[in-house]
Amino acid sequence: MKMSISLLINGETYQVNVPHKKTLLDVLREDLALTGTKKGCDSGECGACTVLMDGKPVNSCIVLAVDAVGKQITTIEGIGGITELDPIQEALVAHGAIQCGYCTPGIVMTAKALLDSNPHPTESQVREGITGNLCRCTGYVKIVEAIMDVSRR
């Protein structure tokens, strides 16, 4: 069964006609071509699909699109400007915290929410904060350094 819904994403309203069981992740990627949000497992285990819903990080692969109606959704495409990056993104670049980059959009979203709610976290709070975002490339070392760097500013 398809439903016509409207979603508020990165400040813009999108009208989509989607099966009621379709996840927010699949709608973002397939219907709206917002492919910056990645799929690493499709079952809430890896965090690659993290987006913000009303400022809170969620795994968009376990949220139904219909349940996102009426919420403010922010994806990686809504972070930073056309050419300039958000300070979190700049820090990840500067610290060499990006390798394959597949976890990176999810990390950016989680870090954003973390620093919005707690601008000066301790290192263990940072580690705790991103524990749902798996990374297989970096050992998290430079990711944690980058987030700590931003938090000290």
């Binding site: 910056g36 497992c41 495409e77 060499g96 990006i98 524990t131």
Partner: protein
């Protein structure tokens, strides 16, 4: 030596597009009329297929094509990404879709439909009748008398790799002590965050097909796919967009032939994207190996004989296995010097998913076993474990048995010295269960492991790379290269090498971030930690050729001989004759403009296609401190000090990143990761990220990397390698630290809390 951009941690060339989410990975792409492919997988580990009925699936609206074994070319092939070379033993034993199921997940049929839901529904409509055969889930069963044959190999053994040096029996007779131990290492999965197995194939009307694929080796995937499909190599074009991690999993063909066959049959583009479960079920993991190591040693720690007998569980298809048996022998015999060495490696089929490449390519397995036993030997002889290693490792100027070539440079002593100091070895490496390490039920220990690794696979495999440098009208440069960067940062390091050699700013070099076999020259790809050394040499030499032409043009313009010119900061300078004269210079932009539009129009281009001159080994000593909770059995790694000799670090942040990421995989190998099968049914027990545990940010210890830069003459600016080596010694170091903490020697990985508790209870009996 002082360089301008070599040795700088410049940001990666692809960081901004990745961090902003705008980088397009294969799975992000969409083409007009693109169909979605899906594969029907066997629910049985071993079964004959009696019949398949696809009629209902074909009738489903939206289904465009359904393929089975009947529709595939009857060409046997091997998926491993090897160039034809002495070390490539390629047993061809698979078809694109099989007519006999050999593991749970084996591909039986494939469909392409207008969308994913329809494709999934079509799979459900395919009716298959199976005759189930016994599932042989381990080497013992596979090799037992009367076991059914998975292929046509007696006792399911399809390879024996022997090595004999000297006289092993005389060597043991000569020894004061002989140690013999058997070790087992499990199957582990690479778990690249982008699930392994994503390709999109688009046929054209000229009989060619373009395949976008997440791969480590565009050119070799091109030729293997062509062979499997019965096409000419030139009919296939491989494009490699950004890759979401690989670690060996994409070292060869994954699902490209299936996507291509579907696309060709229907004449439309097909996207074939494996789920996380399929990536576990149907793509290659690290080989489980059972290794028996026998070592003869004199009282003073001199080895008289070293012997390895190993049984390599290759899973259901040969792919890499018989070729991997070679390096497994190589890692073993090249680690420590001994006049007498014997190796026998056997490749065995079982009914698990085929095994292939995973960072280290057999070395982590061998090093776990060898380095565990070395610590036991040191303890028995009463020799410091560091001393024993220093005494017996091969060093610069000696022949390295892996390659048969002389070792160019060796930073191992410095690795040992700096690593030991950082971990406070002498203070902390006290007796087992030392009073000071008591903290109630928690016991601490330190341990270390040593390893050597390659910078390519010569002379066993060809290591061809090609590079082209084009100097643009404005003095910027394009580097055309089959860039198989999968996240490790090779594209950035290679750009630094080009900029350094050309003498232009790093920002002015633009590498082809996407590899395209229609554009770049033949390149082996990303394997054997070869990119910086092998690829780097070709890039440097191409840049040198372009630079020579720049100098020649400058000589003409400045009326100064080439021998008196140098390139620096984007300008060519004439060396100052007298200090009164102001320095004369001309910009590369002016030179290039003159080349393009002067009296004889030509662009300055430097091209090479070549193999690198050597294969310099790298060294590492990793030290760890652990805390073992004797009540819960939990081993916590508190700290890792990783001292690595990488030659010149072209980009230190990238080098550190390689080591740090590898250590996450190494700790997982030691403590948490094991891909398990039900031993009766052959069903995988943990093909997902909840049950297959990789380390999260809170699980990771402090990591301190120490870069030892023992530069080698043949490397680009002295670089050797780093990619794989970061995890090779980690599990051994942890096992040795656990022994130091609780006095228990684990000969099997992973050291899970259950196993540690059981061993503690056994010990206390």
């Amino acid at each position: 030596m002082s360089y301008s951009v070599v040795g700088q941690s410049v940001p990666r060339v692809d960081a901004r597009e990745k961090v902003s989410g705008s980088a397009l990975y294969t799975g992000d792409m969409m083409l007009p009329h693109m169909l979605i492919g899906k594969v029907l997988r066997s629910p049985f580990a071993h079964a004959k297929i009696i019949s398949i009925d696809t009629s209902k699936a074909k009738e489903l609206p939206g289904v465009k094509v359904v393929l089975t074994y009947e529709d595939t070319p009857k060409i046997l092939w091997n998926s491993a990404g090897f160039p034809p070379s002495p070390g490539a033993i390629l047993v061809e034993d698979q078809y694109i879709l099989t007519n006999k199921a050999r593991y749970v997940g084996d591909g039986i049929a494939a469909v392409a439909a207008v969308d994913e839901a329809t494709a999934v529904q079509a799979l459900e409509l395919i009716e298959v009748e199976y005759e189930v055969l016994p599932a042989l889930m381990n080497i013992e069963r596979a090799m037992s008398d009367g076991a059914v044959l998975i292929h046509e190999a007696e006792k399911n053994i399809y390879g024996h790799t022997p090595v004999v040096i000297g006289d092993i029996d005389a060597g043991f007779a000569d020894a004061d002590f002989v140690f013999e131990d058997t070790y087992y290492v499990p199957k582990v999965n690479q778990v690249s965050l982008e699930p392994c197995g994503v390709s999109m194939a688009a046929p054209d009307k000229d009989g060619r097909i373009t395949i976008w694929t997440s791969t480590q080796m565009p050119h070799l995937v091109r030729s293997i796919t062509a062979h499997a499909l019965g096409l000419k190599t030139g009919q296939i074009r491989i494009i490699k967009p950004p890759v979401g991690g690989a670690f060996g999993s994409r070292l060869g063909v994954v699902n490209e032939p299936i996507a291509a066959l579907l696309a060709m049959k229907v004449g439309q583009p097909v996207m074939l994207k494996y789920t996380r479960e399929e990536a576990f079920l149907a793509t290659e993991s690290r080989h489980p190996i059972t290794m028996t190591i026998k070592t003869g040693v004199k009282k003073d720690g001199t080895f008289t004989a070293r012997q390895l007998t190993s049984y390599i569980d290759g899973g259901a298809y040969a792919t890499h296995t018989p070729s991997l048996a070679g390096p497994v022998a190589g890692w073993f015999l090249a680690m420590y010097k001994s006049p007498n060495i014997k190796v026998d490696n056997y490749s065995v089929y079982t009914n698990s998913t085929q095994c292939g490449a995973f960072r280290g390519y057999g070395n982590p397995q061998v090093v776990f076993a060898v380095e565990s036993q070395i610590d036991d030997i040191a303890e028995r002889l009463g020799i410091d474990p560091l001393e024993l290693r220093l005494k017996n490792h091969p060093c610069a100027g000696e022949v390295w048995l892996w390659s048969g070539w002389v070792i160019e440079s060796c930073g191992f002593e410095e690795c040992i010295a700096s690593g030991a100091k950082a971990i406070e070895w002498t203070k902390k490496r006290s007796k087992i269960g030392n009073e000071s390490s008591h903290q109630g039920s928690k016991k601490r220990g330190v341990g270390m492991g040593y390893m050597m690794h390659v910078s390519g696979a010569r002379p066993m495999l060809h290591e061809t790379s090609a590079a082209m440098i084009k100097i643009n009208e404005d003095g910027t440069a394009n580097l055309i290269y089959s860039n198989s960067d999968c996240g490790q940062g090779a594209g950035t390091s290679l750009s630094q090498i080009a900029a350094e050699e050309l003498g232009i700013p790093f920002e002015d070099v633009m590498i082809t971030k996407t590899a395209d076999t229609d554009v770049a020259g033949f390149d082996i790809g990303s394997h054997a930690s070869r990119q910086t050394y092998s690829g780097g040499n070709s890039v440097k030499n191409a840049a040198a050729k372009a630079k020579q032409k720049i100098l020649e043009m400058a000589a003409e313009m400045m009326e100064t001989p080439v021998s008196e010119l140098v390139v620096k900061g984007g300008r060519v300078w004439a060396s100052n004759k007298s200090s009164e004269e102001p320095a004369k210079s001309v910009s590369i932009a002016e030179i290039s403009h003159r080349a393009h539009f002067g009296s004889h129009g030509n662009q300055i281009i430097g091209v090479v296609s070549e193999e690198p001159p050597g294969n310099p080994p790298v060294y590492a000593a990793q030290f760890v401190e652990v805390e073992v909770d004797t009540e819960t059995g939990i081993v916590e790694v508190l700290r890792v000090v990783a001292a690595h000799d990488v030659g010149t670090a072209i980009n230190p942040a990238i080098v550190e990143g390689q080591i740090e990421g590898a250590i996450q995989q190494g700790i997982g190998y030691a403590l948490t990761e094991e891909y398990c099968y039900d031993q009766e049914s052959g069903k995988p027990l943990n093909p997902n990220l909840s049950d297959y545990k990789i380390l999260t940010s809170v699980d990771m210890p402090q990591i301190e990397t120490i870069l030892v830069e023992a530069a080698c003459d043949t490397g680009p600016f002295g670089a050797k390698s780093v990619g794989e080596s970061g995890l090779v010694a980690t599990a051994a170091a942890i096992a040795n630290a656990v022994y130091n903490a609780i006095g228990i020697r684990f000969k099997e990985l992973p050291m899970t809390p259950e196993r540690v508790l059981a061993a503690l209870q056994n010990k206390n009996k």
